[in-house]
Amino acid sequence: MLREDSRRLRAVLLFSAILWGGFRSELLDFCLTLGRYPREFGNPMGYDRRPLRLRADPLPGEYIRFLDAVARQTKPGVSIVVMAEPLGKGFSYSFYRATYKLAGRRVAYPVLDETFSQLSLIGNPEYLALWASGAAPPAPWGLVWEGHGGKLWRRPG
């Protein structure tokens, strides 16, 4: 009888552990805390094994607005390089945000130095979008638009 009881108890405990352990009470919280989520900022540069949606958008709002403006200033099909100086020069997460915001355009990986000498390596893009950067590409690049902390340059022809 004791053996039978312990057998059942073991099964009940394991069942309860699966039920309790898997239960996501935060999903219940979302119903009760509308408008107060999320509260913690994510890491703008690195992978995160926890879903980023459990944290706030890690990128500055001004950068997002700059990308939206660049999308309005350029036509689908053109090629663009986006450099964002404070955000790891536009690599990593800020690059992915740029590719998405500028969907329909060819968004090349950003150039590596500020002399812009490596543009030919990435297919000579038509536009350069520089955010929070004091750098300016050499002639014949011309300034098309500026705002939201950044500038959009275009190569003629």
Partner: protein, 444 residues
């Protein structure tokens, strides 16, 4: 949100004939769950077909395509799409309050996920670089943009990944007539709800108990509601989970019609991510070692292969590269094998969550391993093979392997949480039902 929910509902209703054609006895929540999952699958094929025929995506062309895809199955079931017939056999419980509390809790969890998934625009890393980028680009082009997928500059989008996930986003966006990156989250809740409906129905049929069924469903509801909104894991989890549970139902409970549905759902899982294709292979291995072995069970899985085959043809035609196959694979594998301790440590460090769920489920499977091997061989072997494949793929990866594990290990395992939990729970439920005499008779 209304437009997105309407899109999902219309696609599901138009998928009902296919669901009924696969299993004439399917009804209630299982029928609803299967129809939701099939709706996205059919929608994917309609959008793909429109692209290949050069017809731009519009609300009219999409609905016409869905109706055309639905018509043959209406004929197959002779119009008996909405006939539900007799209800499932009655359950034996007397305590209805507990069942109602469990169902209410599951409903609130689903509602909470809906809020979570659609509270803000998507900003998940892989959504921006892969799934959302493809969906948005295709929507703007009103077609699958093969030039974009073939462009080496856009290599980051993983052009070799199948298209069901981005095309599910497009299905809703075309109905809406606008790309709305906030409400895209709704489809992730729909995928999970489809899976939960299926779990609830199949467990109710198997255990003939509302309490047992609702407890199992409640335990698996949270793992089914993927937190990785905007990525491939949510849909993959739903298709793999539902597919495995249906195939298990066919083999354990002798329900041959479940095998057909399971094969179709596993095939659709193969159109979400390459892990879904691996699961088709793992399932075939598992069926082959399940006793009694029947060739007809293995052959009945043909829809899974037939569903993923067109994508592989398109991949070959367009020469989409695959990360793992690029460069010197053997050299990479050898380098990673030398540093295997780093890989193992990274897998422990970046383990899947929630930890208690995984520890308890694995402990239950290991403790009742004999019953798992004798009674639940299909699910046990399929999961073992799949997790082994997940483990070995790390050795061929191109980027820094520990960074790869940090970014993906917990996430890809999260797509297996439901079948792993399901296996553990059915073993425990069987153990609780077992009397000492029956256990002794079976030598367990």
């Amino acid at each position: 949100m209304i437009a997105y929910l309407a899109a999902i509902l219309i696609a599901a209703i138009l998928a009902l004939p296919l669901a009924r054609a696969l299993d004439r006895e399917l009804r209630g929540s299982a029928l609803a769950g299967v129809a939701i999952l099939l709706g996205f699958g059919i929608g994917h094929y309609v959008l793909l077909a429109l692209s290949l025929l050069g017809i731009p995506w519009t609300r009219t062309s999409l609905v016409s395509g869905l109706v055309l895809a639905s018509l043959p199955f209406v004929l197959v079931v002779r119009g008996r799409v909405f006939v539900t017939g007799e209800r499932d056999e009655p359950v034996a419980d007397t305590d209805r309050t507990m069942v109602r509390v469990a169902i209410l809790t599951i409903a609130v969890l689903i509602l909470g996920h809906l809020v979570y998934a659609s509270s803000a625009q998507q900003w998940e890393w892989d959504y921006l670089g892969i799934w959302g980028l493809k969906g948005k680009t295709f929507f703007l082009a009103r077609s699958v943009d093969w030039t974009f997928l073939s462009d080496p500059v856009m290599h980051v989008t993983h052009p070799d990944y199948p298209l069901l996930v981005p095309l599910s986003m497009d299905l809703a966006a075309v109905f809406r007539g606008k790309w709305d990156e906030r409400w895209i989250g709704v489809i992730y809740t729909a995928f999970a709800a489809g899976l939960i409906l299926i779990i609830g129905s199949l467990t109710r049929r198997e255990w003939r108990s509302g309490i047992k069924s609702s407890l199992i469903t409640l335990a698996l509801a949270s793992p089914a509601l993927s937190l990785w909104v905007g990525l491939g894991e949510g849909p993959l989890l739903a298709y793999m989970g539902a597919g495995l549970i249906f195939v298990r139902d066919a083999l354990v409970n002798d329900q041959p019609r479940s095998l057909r549905i399971g094969a179709v759902l596993l095939g659709l899982g193969g159109l979400c991510k390459n892990e879904g294709v691996a699961m088709i292979g793992a399932s075939l291995v598992a069926i082959a070692v399940t006793r009694p072995f029947r060739w007809k069970n293995l052959i009945a899985m043909w829809p899974a292969i037939a569903i993923v085959l067109p994508w592989f043809v398109l991949r070959i035609v367009h020469r989409f590269p695959t990360d793992f196959a690029e460069g010197d694979v053997l050299s990479r594998v050898w380098t990673h094998l030398i540093g295997i301790h780093h890989i193992l440590w990274a897998m422990v460090k970046f383990r899947p969550e929630p930890l208690l769920f995984w520890l308890a489920a694995i402990a239950a499977i290991l403790y009742y391993r004999r019953a798992a091997w004798q009674r639940e061989r299909f699910l046990t072997v399929a999961l073992f093979v799949q997790i082994f494949l997940y483990f070995t793929q790390n050795f061929a990866h191109r980027i820094h392997v520990t960074a790869h594990i940090e970014g993906s290990w917990a996430r890809i395992l999260s797509a297996l949480a439901v079948p792993v939990g399901y296996l553990a729970l059915v073993l425990l439920m069987r153990e609780l039902e077992e009397t000492p005499e029956s256990a002794a008779d079976k030598g367990l």
